[in-house]
Amino acid sequence: MISAAGLVDVELANPIDAFAGASGEASAREFGTLGYSIRARKPVD
């Protein structure tokens, strides 16, 4: 999806259980929800 928008060098890192201990934790676990850091760049040309 990110690449389809024209961005390149897409990278996902740093998965974290952002909902751990929150009241939404059960819903998050049901769908395997994790927070990620995501980067990409717009090509020069």
Binding site: M1, I2, A4, A5, G6, L7, L12, A13, N14, I16, A18, F19, G21, A22, S23, G24, S27, A28, E30, F31, G32, T33, L34, G35, Y36, S37, I38, R39, A40, R41, K42, P43, V44, D45
Partner: protein
Amino acid sequence: MADILNVVDIDELRHQVRQKYRDVAADPSGTQHVHHFHTGRTHAVRLGYPSHPLSELPDEACEAFAGMGNPFFWGGPKPGERVVDLGSGGGMDSLLAALWVGSEGRVIGVDMTPEMLERSRSIAAKMGLKNVEFREGLIEDLPVEDGWADVVISNGVINLCPDKIGVYRQIFRVLKPGGRMTVADICLERPVPEEALRDIDLWTG
């Protein structure tokens, strides 16, 4: 999986998201309104935010933070850079970016919830930051000119938009050639059934 844009009532979703974040702006710690996610400075530290310049922010600037990861995992913006913050919410990430870019840089936070914008503007004014502004708008239709930004940041917001590729096209549009996106958001490891997609409580929860 069904086409998400044909399943979700986008106007109703935006209404519900505004209401949820209106509640967060008014009651960040969830004393009166239950938030299904963590908020505040401790949450930011747990997500891996760098202690500096986070320590430079007053507590008020961190209270309504409700991110899902660390958009600064690869480092913060550099002095003099221009930054756009998609879904700036309580303003914490925009304010951090303003400290990083310094007086020669600029930061634009965009959010659709008036109460969050009011909160962010008030805190920026109290901090005396003149290099950050907060604009009302949708991240699917950013009120930012083409090719303005060196960096686009966001945290926990793109997942709330059904038209995600539309958001990424907007990011592409506002970035300078060679500019970068460093965002944080949730990803799901399992497919979401159509009935769950229609459940707006799950989106805002």
